[in-house]
C-alpha cells in the first residue's frame, strides 16, 4: 500500500503451488477476492452522520463524493491513475512463477482527497482501509495455498 509510488506486498507461495500455473492462478484469484472484499467495505461517512475514522478503521467512508467508487485495478504494470495533485493508494501483488502483479488504487483525479481520509488530518482520524486490508494479504495467501492443496 502506498501513496504516489506503488509499493508492493509480497507473500511467499510455497514451492508445491508454484509447480502448477493453475494452482498459482487459483491462489492469486482467491486471495485477491479475499483482500478486496476486505478493502472495499464501506461505512456511512461523517457528512451523512456516520461516526469518524477511529471507530471505523479499515472501512471506506461513503459520503457525497467519489472515494469508494474511485477504485482502479491494473494488471502487469498497467497505467495507474495519477496527476499533479492526486495520490494513489495501492495494494501490491504477488511474485510467483509468472510474476503476476496486480495493483489497486483509490484516489486519483476522481477523489484526490483519498490520502487525507486514509491517513487522517489535524481535524480527522484516519480510516487506514488499505493498510489494514493489506496486512492480511499474507494470511489470505497462506489460507488459499492450503485450500489448493486440499483440492488435489
Amino acid at each position: 500500500m502506498a501513496i504516489g509510488d506503488h509499493k508492493t506486498f509480497t507473500a511467499q507461495v510455497d514451492a508445491w503451488v508454484i509447480k502448477s500455473d493453475a494452482s498459482i492462478d487459483t491462489v492469486l484469484k482467491r486471495s485477491i477476492f479475499d483482500v478486496m472484499d476486505e478493502a472495499t467495505e464501506t461505512v456511512i461517512g461523517k457528512m451523512r452522520g456516520g461516526a469518524g475514522g477511529l471507530v471505523n478503521r479499515g472501512k471506506i467512508p461513503k459520503d457525497l463524493s467519489n472515494l469508494a467508487g474511485s477504485l482502479v485495478s491494473t494488471l502487469q504494470g498497467g497505467m495507474a491513475q495519477g496527476g499533479e495533485d492526486s495520490y494513489s493508494l495501492v495494494i501490491g501483488g504477488i511474485n510467483a512463477k509468472n510474476d503476476p502483479v496486480m495493483q489497486f488504487s483509490w484516489g486519483g483525479t476522481a477523489a484526490d482527497y483519498a490520502v487525507h481520509v486514509h491517513y487522517g488530518t489535524e481535524h480527522m482520524d484516519g480510516y487506514f482501509w488499505v493498510e489494514l486490508a493489506a496486512q492480511k494479504w499474507k494470511s489470505y495467501v497462506e489460507k488459499n495455498v492450503e485450500f489448493v492443496k486440499r483440492q488435489v
Binding site: R57, G126, L132, Q135
Partner: protein, 136 residues
C-alpha cells in the same frame, strides 16, 4: 494460553521514538492534541491474529503497522520533513526485533516513506513501519 499485550507493544514502539530524542514533539493517541510543528503523530494498527498449534504449544502471530506521520509547516521546503521521516525510518530497520512478554516484535519490511501531502497549513508525511508480533 498465550496472549499478546497490544498496549505493551504500543508503549515499546512509542518509547523507541521518544528515546531517540529527534527534537520533535510526539503526539500520542488519547492525549490532548498539540499544535506544535514539527510533530510526530503516532498510530498503531493491529489486525486479527493467526494461531498455529504445534505439539501442544500455541504460537500467536499478529500483523501490525506503526504509522508515524511527520507534520511540518507548509512553505519550509520538503527537506526538513523528509529528514525527520528518514530519522524515524532509521529507528525501525527491517529485521529489528524488540522483546515483549513471552515473545517478540519483528520489523518485516523496510519502512515506507510516503511523498507527503498538504493539509491546510500543514505538510504531512506518513512513515509506515510493518511489523509482526509473535508470542510463543
Amino acid at each position: 494460553m498465550a496472549t499478546i499485550d497490544t498496549n505493551q507493544i504500543t508503549g515499546i514502539l512509542q518509547r523507541r521514538l521518544y528515546d531517540a530524542s529527534l527534537g520533535v514533539t510526539l503526539a500520542l493517541p488519547n492525549v490532548a492534541k498539540v499544535p506544535d510543528r514539527p510533530r510526530l503523530e503516532i498510530v498503531h494498527l493491529a489486525n486479527d491474529r493467526r494461531g498455529n498449534t504445534m505439539k501442544g504449544s500455541e504460537v500467536i502471530r499478529e500483523p501490525r503497522s506503526l504509522i508515524v506521520t511527520v507534520v511540518t509547516d507548509i512553505g519550509i521546503g520538503l527537506q526538513s520533513s523528509e529528514d525527520i521521516a528518514d530519522s524515524v525510518a532509521a529507528l525501525f530497520p527491517e529485521g529489528l526485533k524488540l522483546a515483549i512478554t513471552g515473545g517478540e516484535i519483528t520489523v518485516t519490511a523496510p519502512p515506507q516513506i510516503g511523498p507527503g501531502f498538504r493539509d491546510e497549513a500543514e505538510h504531512r508525511n506518513p512513515v509506515t513501519v510493518r511489523l509482526e508480533s509473535v508470542v510463543y
